[in-house]
Amino acid sequence: MKLVPFLTAMVGGLLFSTAAMSADAPGAAELAAKLSDLQQDGSTFIRVKMIVSSPANPSDPKTTLQLQIKSRRSAGQTDVVYQVLFPKERKGEAVLISSSGNGATFTPPDKLQTFDAAKFKESLLGSDLSYEDVSDNFFAWKDQSLAGTETVSNVSCQILESKPKGARSSYTSVKSWIDTKRMVPLRVEKYGAGGQLVRRIDTSDVANVDGRNVLAMLVIRRPGHATATEMDGSRIKRGVAYTDADFTAEGLKNLSGPKGGE
């Protein structure tokens, strides 16, 4: 039994949280707009445990990382910093990803590298997520349609299909199974060119923290890959104070958490 008050969400466009609300079968555009708005939740600070395992070979060693995630999201821009706190030998390793199509990595003691959108398909800290997965907001894409309903984890979900249509993405479409009562996706499938499934993200726990539904635990799998990544949110602070410097390559060296927030 995992008893945890505090938790987080991360699906597709990354960790996001949603206010507890209900929707009576909204249209695709309306549903996507609501989800997109909820994803633009300002400045947040999140602690997450990430476990990369190999379900096909349970005897293979698991990699466990404790991460802190600094993010600021608005309608036009998303900046996210992932910083490794544990294990000791990887402490300080960090990645900055910006939805404007650039980013940077930092490997202690002093290896700082910038990158552009061409590297967005690369793995995030050795996990089954890519840089693109944590900076994209596919709910904001223009082409949204409803593809029926399906029950996921005993919850009836609307299936929302999002296509980039002009937006920069390596995916050709993303299907999300939306619990419209809690306004959270319980499953996300991302498809590449040729319509093959590239990534599947399953929500295994949703928590209500201060009236907001947050995805507490996610499992990310890639068909054809032996690994699976479990992300277990342990704490979230909203409305924290960041400076622009926190979202620069140099800012990656700063492991201090932000001030303020609830």
């Binding site: 945890v4 008050p5 910083q83 294990p87 602070k237 492991l255």
Partner: protein, 371 residues
Amino acid sequence: MTFFTIVTRGLMRRPVRTGLTLAGISIGIAAVVALVGMAWGYEKSIGKQLDVIGIDMIVSNMTGGIMPKTFDASVEDKIAQLPKIKETTSLLMQLISVEDAPMIMVSGRKWGGFTWHQLKVVEGRMIKDEHEPAVVLGRLAAEVLKKKVGDTVQLDSDELNVVGIVDGGSVVENGAIILSLAVMQKVTLNEGKVNFIDIRLQPGTDKDAVTETAAEIKKIFPEGRAVKASEVVGTSQGFRVARAMSWSTSILAITVGILGVMNTMLMTVFERTHEIGILLAVGWRRQRVMLMVLCESALLGLLGGILGVILGAAGLMIMETTPAIKGLLEPDLSPRLLIISVIIAVVVGLISGLYPAWRSSRLSPAVAIQS
């Protein structure tokens, strides 16, 4: 041949069926022992912790989820001014995923507060001052984290030295990472915040004065709630849910047991129609036949109960050592639980035997003998 011999012979006639029925009941009772034992154990651990520390009342704001929400530490100073209050201290406690271990309780305690007093250093030393970047580990926490004195433990982005291993007198205390409130606030970015105020009342404070004090605290801290230590477990939603879940699962298991015993007893009655007819013909009263069937089912319940208690207790002992539970729960294997479980088993046996007993008493001796 005595009445009891007839009862036991009835059961021994079909040893495989009786054995399978016993297995069914015992699994049900084992579930009761294991699940209820866990729930009671958790409650007992919390109660023991409060007793050991000597806390009379606890103030917190439970709206935040399983752990209370943080609030301004200055609330403590205002509460401390109330007339019936002898002593207060504050804490910031959080369940944190530490390194690669599962969630563990991290307890930041106000320096000099009475919550430090019951900690006995079993290895190493106590933290020197409120700003020392160090922790002491409860004995079980040290085991779970595989840490010893001299190691470091990483809490969020800070590495803190493990300076001692302590015995806190309860499983909750022994399963925790303990550090000063100031360091905890800094590490978890909660400067100036706490989420518990523990209160000791003036000796001799009566029930009415406690209620009055709780009302005064509510005025000072409207979002929070002051609860008597003895009521902490009873008023906690989490405990209530855990208790309800353990009993509801147990009831399901018991229901399966009842059906199993009822089936066995009905089969017994059908198979022994001839014998029951003879017993009625030689002068047994219908009530005596009913009593015989009820005794058989009660005996099945009793044996199943004893077996179930043994199985459940063994299961609990094994569960207690698993990494997910070790240090978090101390299952309750009190005689009270074991006796209640056996009584439940006997009652299950009796309930299951009621219908078969009634059926047997309705047999006509003449028809039964001919069957």
